[in-house]
């Protein structure tokens, strides 16, 4: 599980962990049911305080993204929860917004843009 922490940019570290695990789950890089590293392992990997990792896991649990199993560890919740779906939509909407802004700056209208998206999708198939 690859997570990057940047101290000193004002976003609390526990929130950076929460956001990145949600992101990994939403884009499928973490599969439902997958086991997450233990608090201690992740703290040593990221070089952050173990309490910070524990707090991130608690928040993720409260959001229904992960489920702890007694004595076995923490696992990504099975199936795509409405929350993961919402997270997917949030990520896609961000990208779409960026695309729309750029298209507008380049004077490409919406119909042309949609045509281009279709074309690209054909190419990628």
């Amino acid at each position: 599980m690859q997570i990057q922490i940047s101290a000193g940019d004002g976003v609390p570290i526990y929130l950076q962990i929460v956001n990145q695990i949600k992101y990994l789950a939403a884009c499928g890089r973490l599969e439902p049911g997958a086991q997450l590293p233990s608090v201690r392992t992740l703290a040593e990997q990221l070089l952050v305080n173990p309490n910070t990792v524990a707090r991130a896991y608690r928040e993720l649990e409260a959001m229904g993204v992960v489920t702890p199993r007694r004595g076995a560890g923490v696992f990504l919740a099975a199936g795509i929860s409405p929350l993961a779906r919402r997270e997917q939509n949030r990520i896609l909407n961000q990208r779409i917004d960026m695309l729309l802004v750029e298209a507008q700056q380049m004077n490409v209208d919406l119909d042309a843009l949609v045509r281009m998206v279709r074309q690209r999708s054909q190419v990628m198939k």
């Binding site: 101290a7 000193g8 570290i13 703290a43 040593e44 070089l47 952050v48 305080n49």
Partner: protein
């Protein structure tokens, strides 16, 4: 978390006419990672020397594991793993001699763990301390501080002057120590992104005084950096805004490190003829710089 490993109450210290510490109050709860932050000469090392019993409090009291480190050094020092700023190790010893020498001081020395650390740090047992590079010397000091699994790990500027690889080892040692139930770490540093990564409590020390002492979370949550746009350019920094700690800027736009309610700030800004055009959380470094400059 209620048990206090270190309790410092009203400690003042003078060296001749020089005031080195002024009425310091600090508590370090068990299981925390406590970061002492301040520039060189702020008093961090003097404070650490009081914890080790190397300096006796002129006024006030110091308690470590509820004992007086000056009166009862045996009760205190055997439970502390200490890495000094100048890493004063016996230069004439070889690394393996340093290990057996240190073993004699600590009843709880863990020989297996010491050997594991030596391998992990890639230290050659036959090498003389004097021949070690700066980074290897720091690792040898860290090995001695860690191998008796101390209840309190006390590191004075552990990362200072070291390359990123050795700094990683030091951060990993801090994380591993505190991950073991009930152990406590105190470290001083001026690398604030490192402090922000691993500390859960922070004290900002400046000119012998504690400017701020709280959990890292509270410190971060209590401060914002806001950018104000004034309708009329200002020749001097704005005055009379509640909660403003420090100002930077000129003319129309000023950035303010503030501590307090955003709503109050917004209203006060409007009264002063300004609009809040940007607002973001402040990093520990920005908070520290603002507090020290104020």
């Amino acid at each position: 978390m209620n048990e206090r490993v270190i309790e410092i109450h009203g400690v003042t210290r003078r060296f001749g006419h020089q005031l080195a510490l002024k009425d310091i109050h600090l508590d370090v709860p068990r299981g925390s990672v406590f970061g002492l932050v301040g520039e060189n000469g702020a008093g961090k090392t003097t404070l650490i020397k009081h914890v080790l019993g190397l300096l006796k409090a002129q006024t006030g009291t110091v308690r470590v594991f509820a004992a007086d480190p000056v009166g009862d050094p045996v009760a205190v020092l055997g439970r502390i793993g200490y890495l000094s700023e100048d890493r004063d190790l016996p230069d004439w010893m070889r690394v393996d001699e340093l290990m057996s020498y240190s073993e004699a001081f600590y009843p709880r020395w863990d020989r297996g763990f010491a050997a594991e650390l030596r391998r992990m740090f890639q230290l050659d047992g036959r090498q003389r301390i004097r021949a070690l590079s700066r980074g290897q010397r720091a690792r040898a000091g860290l090995l001695v501080a860690l191998a008796h699994r101390p209840d309190l790990l006390l590191l004075d500027e552990p990362s200072s002057g070291l390359d990123p690889v050795v700094r990683r080892d030091i951060l990993a040692a801090i994380v591993r120590t505190v991950a073991e139930e009930g152990r406590t770490v105190v470290f001083s540093s001026h690398l604030l992104d490192e402090v922000e990564r691993v500390a859960d409590r922070v004290a900002l020390i400046h000119a012998g005084e504690v400017l701020l002492c709280s959990t890292l979370e509270e410190i971060i949550a209590a401060h914002r950096l806001i950018t104000l746009h004034f309708a009329e350019p200002l020749a001097e920094r704005p005055t009379s805004l509640p909660g403003a700690v420090h100002w930077a800027g000129s003319g129309h736009e000023w950035i303010c490190l503030c501590n307090g309610q955003m709503e109050t700030m917004r209203k006060a800004a409007a009264t002063a003829g300004a609009e809040v055009v940007d607002e973001r959380p402040a990093s520990l470094e920005e908070i520290y710089l603002g507090r020290v400059a104020a």
